[in-house]
Amino acid sequence: MPRPNFAPEKPILTQRIPCWPFADPATRRTIRLDEYQRTGGYDGLRKALSMAPDAVVGEVKDSGLRGRGGAGFPTGLKWTFLPKYDPAGPPRYLAINADESEPGTFKDRLIMDFDPHLLLEGIAIACYACRLSKAYIYIRGEYFHQAMVLEEAIKDAYAAGIFGSRGLLSGAATAGGGPWPLEVHLHRGAGAYICGEETALLESLEGKRGWPRIKPPFPALKGLFGKPTIINNVETLAHLPSIVTFGKEWFLAQGTKGSAGTKLFGISGHVNRPGLHECELGIPLRMLIESKDYCCGMRHGKKFKGAIAGGVSTGILGPDQIDAPMDFDIGKNYNVLGLGTACPTIFDEDTDMVAVARNIARFFKHESCGQCTPCREGSGWLYQLLSRIESGGGRTKDLDLTLEIATSMGAMPGTTICGLADGNNWAVRTIINKYRAEFEKRVRPTYVPVTMSVGAAANA
């Protein structure tokens, strides 16, 4: 059962990163290797190496950990999709998704800025458990500072023998039959949101344009350079050291049913104290906004109008959905795409929701990779239509056309390769549906001349 304010008993992911209500974020600084080790760092890896690799996979699977990158896929289950390990077989890879580009999202950056070894320890555990010999951290190009912090941390870890050809932890004996050598590399992206999509990320790692691949084959079987590959988000991996150390029951005891554990929540927008907090999954949005422990209420005492649920792709929570618990069931219960990155952007009563929709449509038009016609063309049309409505030139029928285009694009309707178009679909559709009256006030009615059928007018 979560505590009344949904804060963990002790911070876990943020145990070395000051966050409210535990400590003042102003005192944050980057934790170097010696301090990390002095405060229990790499103990999780040490314990993992004393377990059989399959036992680590089992522990993670039973812990209920779900991916923190947006889709919420069960982590342990994903790992079991790998082919059976064959020492004489091809190399197997881990790709770490540090592309964090979903508008509104600023959580992985926190770990990379201040506690980079937490990520590195998680990487080592995942690679040991899944029998992966090389790890690539794919970090977005704009995170230049974070890339330097990580580069330094990787160097320190190699120098201390934590990584390298001798095997993890200076060639320590493991329960997996001998030391486990691991190479870890950093790979900087160059400004393309789509490279956060896992198969586009692989293409980009191979030096190509970031065009998502058609699945199947799934990366676990045929991923980077055609070899078995696991892709996990930064925050997902950062959970591993504590899951291994404290066990699955401990992890399962936090959060809500189907949404185990703590999560980083990054709140932006019209609140008094925007910022990052580690809370148990299931915390109501209202508590994040209003509690003195978190965002201290709406800015200037204004009323709440809506919130992007967790990155623009997830769509919007309307004025009457402020009590939504922030867990993996939010999609099912509140008509949004899902929890996404759990980084909501909050809007007050003065916000122009037509402008919000236009902003998001512009984003997707800009970031569509252009492979699929419904996404490439649809994103352009949505932006044009919403811009016209925003500027007062729209007609009632434009609203229906906008909804029709939005609804038809995406991997779920089955018209596109990847989920970028679904994000566009959900964002535009939920905003129009939940603020329909506001949109209708902005458009001029479409008059149907008595001599014309409604269908003909719609095509006019």
């Binding site: 979903e102 790979h187 900087r188 393309a192 190509k208 932006s268 925007p274 990779c369």
Partner: protein
């Protein structure tokens, strides 16, 4: 906006004798990056980053040199380089100001920040000042939404911006002549 074709029909291809892909860069790629990947193409993004860091943008000749060095077709290199927004295939100012225009920033005042840059520099987003000192662009979320509005001056992030603050930053960049690292 990777899929929008850019007008390059009339572009003159400049050539110079001195290579852009210097021996030092080649050595770094050979020593550090090539061993990391199964294919030579794997080292393409890091190589493009290195060359752009050294020259501030990626001239056509540099792309050809990179292709030759990595054993790729020039078309492959251009295909990749033109896809990513961070690679500049035309010159940019010594100081690149990138103002975030995504959701948290726009609704916390990024337009006023961009307008202040426009006024102060006398250019529109996408343009470079005549003296080649500044280029202004707008881009999408910088992962700094909790401290919106945000902007990058080259690689240095500035948060909680106001029009006054950004004007001060421009003045500082102008005075010091140092614009952070490329």
């Amino acid at each position: 906006m990777a899929w929008i074709t850019k007008n390059s029909g009339g572009a003159k291809i400049e050539r110079r004798d001195e290579p852009y892909l210097t021996q030092a860069i080649k050595d770094t790629v050979t020593r550090t990056y090539l061993p990391r990947y199964e294919t030579k193409m794997g080292a393409l993004l890091p190589t493009l980053h290195l060359v752009q860091q050294a020259h501030n943008w990626l001239p056509h000749q540099a792309l050809i040199e990179i292709a030759e060095f990595l054993g790729l077709k020039p078309a492959d290199v251009i295909d990749t380089a033109s896809f990513y927004e961070e690679y500049w295939l035309k010159p940019k100012g010594a100081c690149l100001i990138s103002v975030c225009r995504s959701i948290a920033c726009e609704f916390c005042g990024s337009k006023a920040v961009t307008d202040a840059c426009r006024r102060r520099l006398g250019i529109e987003p996408g343009e470079t000042t005549d003296d080649g000192k500044f280029t202004l662009i707008e881009l999408e979320c910088l992962g700094s939404c909790g401290t919106a509005p945000a902007a990058l001056f080259n690689h240095t992030l500035h948060e909680n911006l106001t029009p006054e603050k950004v004007e001060r930053l421009i003045e500082e960049a102008e005075r010091s002549g140092s614009h952070g690292h490329h």
